[in-house]
């Protein structure tokens, strides 16, 4: 360990994240990614055969990635770069919008995983958090002055409402697990559907915008929205939101790494018995971990309402479920959530490009997502493969919490 020349916080960062198991984790994630791309390519080839169109997987993935950033590279001609490309473009906005939402959802899942809890319910926490934020802003905005002052008051308020409602909704499965021993996997799956149904019912029965046919709340006033500053208005992406997401990542990293609470959370996740020995309150840890997780999910929902829709409407996209994918790919590591979110943001952002340019259904991205999780789920397979190929982790890199019994 010759990282002594770095300043102390950097050293700590390395120690926390660049252990053997983290390196192994990254290798496994990359291997899973590659395998998923290969298998998806085979599926694409088969699909091309079925539909009578000659799909070229390489071309599809190239267009997918290139398109996600608004095609900086000119793939069709000898020129490398597209003329007149600017980083501020619609596709880039879409990619970063998805990235932003996924960072929050991914952090939500990661925090829970760190405490050995599987919060499949981020989707539900997100739905209710988003609804609460939208309703609260619609109500409160008339009493707040307009302009920058109004935005500075209303936007944090909306996010806070989302966090509180999401956190409370996350606390339910936490309490059910801590005090009634109800498996959080099952309760959160149930609570997702309950959240969606309840939100639908509430909006359609009480809060629907009477001027619209659809199940949608009144619009959030402009002053309370996360609008584009650099990226064009209507691109549904605000750089402020992305900055908030990055700050949240640092915040989660800080809480996990630098606070007593985060310490208890991590010990509870690794070795519950050691946490009790060290004075942690097991029940309270479960509830507070789930609340924190739910709060992050609630913020993701508030962001969706305040940035993407400008209201709340039915048919919330499955950001919460994608958050699971992100967190699993990131090895439940808050910093890792950023690249993992960006990856899925690129997949979403580029899906339009493959549709327009190549006529490939954007649903391919969902196939890829499934494949990635499928291969991520089998680290042992890659370990075996690595051993067979003679790639051995330098030490006995034991991950996945094994070996403590």
């Amino acid at each position: 360990m010759s990282d002594r020349q770095y300043p102390a916080p950097v050293q700590r960062f390395f120690r926390f994240f660049v252990g053997n198991s983290v390196v192994e984790r990254i290798l496994i994630s990359i291997a899973a990614l590659i395998t998923a791309v290969i298998v998806s390519s085979l599926i694409v080839l088969a699909a091309g055969y079925l539909s009578g169109e000659a799909y070229n997987p390489l071309e599809i993935f190239a267009v997918l990635v290139n398109g996600a950033f608004g095609s900086p590279f000119d793939l069709d001609s000898a020129r490398l770069f597209t003329e007149g490309w600017s980083p501020v473009n619609f596709s880039m906005g879409t990619t970063l919008k998805e990235t932003t939402l996924l960072i929050f959802a991914g952090l939500a899942v990661a925090v829970a995983f760190r405490g050995d809890l599987f919060n499949i319910g981020v989707q539900g926490q997100l739905v209710l958090g988003g609804l609460a934020a939208a309703l609260a802003l619609v109500w409160v905005a008339p009493f707040v002055p307009g302009g920058l002052v109004g935005s500075l008051l209303l936007i944090p308020f909306g996010l806070l409402v989302g966090a509180i409602v999401g956190g409370l909704y996350g606390a339910i499965p936490g309490a059910l697990k801590a005090y009634a021993d109800a498996n959080e996997v099952i309760t959160t799956i149930m609570l997702n559907t309950i959240a969606t149904g309840t939100a639908f019912f509430l909006v359609s029965a009480y809060f629907a915008d009477p001027t619209l046919q659809s199940v949608k709340t009144k619009a959030i006033p402009d002053v309370a929205r996360l609008n584009g500053i650099i990226f064009p208005q209507g691109g549904q992406f605000s750089l402020v939101a992305l900055v908030l997401a990055l700050l949240a990542t640092v915040g989660v990293y800080y809480v996990l790494r630098y606070t007593s609470f985060g310490y208890d959370l991590r010990v509870s996740g690794k070795q519950a018995k050691a946490a009790l020995y060290g004075g942690a309150n097991a029940e309270r840890m479960v509830v507070s971990t789930m609340s924190l997780s739910g709060a992050l999910g609630g913020i993701a929902g508030a962001m969706w309402s305040m940035m993407v829709i400008g209201a709340w409407r039915q048919g919330v996209p499955s950001i919460g479920f994608d958050g699971i994918t992100v967190s699993v790919l990131a090895g439940n590591n808050p910093i890792g959530v950023i690249p993992a979110s960006l990856l899925f943001g690129v997949l979403k952002g580029g899906s339009n490009a493959i549709n327009f340019q190549l006529g490939v259904p954007p649903e391919l991205v969902a196939v890829l997502r499934g494949m990635i999780i499928l291969f991520i789920a089998m680290p042992e397979a890659f370990r075996m493969l690595g051993n067979r190929l003679g790639i051995k982790p330098s030490q006995a890199a034991v991950t996945g919490g094994g070996g403590d019994e």
Partner: protein, 369 residues
């Protein structure tokens, strides 16, 4: 479980299985029967009134549509029992339903889409697809020690990704073209029996298959050696191992069976009733796979109780559809649909009745203590 009742009479065994299906299904079945009875009385005593209109919902066609709606839930629920009893929780049932529904429609469509033979082949192709995916899941969790929840999630997401994607490839839309459905099987004579006749003997072959599968599953789990092994594999695998039975093999069979049965559920849904694949949103399966998990928790892993719970949930769905058609009842149908979900949480938290096999989720390796 129920193979050793003190009372060997027919009545005794009936009493015995009622005792075994779980407290909640028992309660609910009771309530359902009671409300049907009340409904019938209202119908007879005050025909033409508003209460009678409401009560009129509960007729033979209501039961028929309930059974048809219940197909994916019940099949997947039965499949889930085999997997989870053997010690592998399969939360990918939803994905298995999606993939089999899609495959059944696709294969039928590619074979022309009209002939009954094509529909039957489509059905079995759907079952095959689901079985294959379940086998992948089994290899993941048994061979590669994958986390069962994450692997199950992956199976769901794979189904959710592949179904709509391939739909667009084939039909240019996430929703498929229409195919024929299986013809109703009518048993001459028996179908004339009032009430029961049209429900059981003049029904979709899928519904009949479902009713048969319920009984067969119950028999296999309760009256065969394999049923004992499945149970031991989930409760205390080392007891099975030390008795000379290969735990991995039992778990493979359990998981693959969940694929076969879910296949009949998903494929049965499209070839029996829907006649097409709908891939928008959460697809046409729309959470049935997750409801299936709750049915066996309700049914305490007993196929009869599980099927009862599945049929009950389907009944709530059918009821919600019908209530919407009655103008004078402002039914919050969205809330009715939530009843199964809320009740699962209540059961898990406050009744604490369902006993999950103790080794579910745990990898087992022979020789480990």
């Amino acid at each position: 479980m129920s193979n050793a009742p003190a009372d060997r009479s027919a009545l005794g065994s009936v009493r015995n299985w009622i005792a075994n299906i779980g407290r909640i299904p028992r309660l609910v079945i009771g309530a359902l029967l009671a409300s049907m009875f009340v409904g019938a009385m209202i119908n007879v005593l005050m025909p033409g009134t508003r209460p009678a209109t409401v009560a009129g919902i509960f007729n033979v066609s209501f039961v028929e549509s309930t059974l048809r709606i219940s197909v994916p839930i019940v099949f997947a629920g039965l499949g889930g029992i085999f997997a989870e009893k053997s010690g592998v929780i399969n939360i990918g049932l939803e994905g298995l339903l999606i993939i089999s529904a899609f495959t059944a429609v696709a294969v039928t469509h590619l074979l022309g889409g009209d002939a009954q033979s094509a529909v039957w082949i489509g059905l079995f192709a759907g079952v095959l697809a689901s079985t294959f995916l379940a086998l992948v899941f089994a290899v993941l969790v048994i061979e590669f020690r994958a986390d069962q929840i994450i692997a199950g999630l992956a199976i769901w997401l794979v189904g959710l990704g592949l179904g709509p994607f391939l739909s667009i490839v084939i039909w240019g839309s996430v929703n498929s073209a229409s195919i024929s459905t299986l013809n109703t099987v009518t048993v001459p004579g028996l179908s004339q029996i009032p009430v029961l006749g049209p429900i059981i003997f003049d029904a979709s072959p899928i519904v009949i298959l479902m009713l048969v599968t319920i009984v067969v599953s119950w028999f296999v789990l309760n009256h065969t050696s394999f049923g004992r092994w499945i149970e031991a594999s989930g409760e205390n695998p080392s007891s099975l191992d030390t008795a000379g039975v290969n735990v991995h093999r039992v778990r493979y069979v359990g998981v693959v069976l969940s694929g076969v049965l879910s296949g009949f559920g998903g494929a049965g849904l499209v070839v029996g009733r829907a006649g097409r694949f709908i891939g928008s949103g959460q697809t046409m399966i729309a959470g049935d796979g997750f409801i299936a998990i709750t049915t066996y928790l309700f049914g305490n892993y007993n196929p009869l109780g599980t099927a009862a719970a599945g049929i009950l949930f389907a009944g709530l769905d059918a009821l919600q559809i019908r209530l919407q058609q009655i103008a004078f009842i402002p039914a919050p149908s969205e809330l009715i649909r939530l009843v199964p979900y809320v009740s699962v949480i209540i059961v898990l938290a406050f009744v604490g009745y369902t006993r999950i096999p103790s080794e579910v989720g745990e990898h087992y390796e022979s020789g480990e203590e």
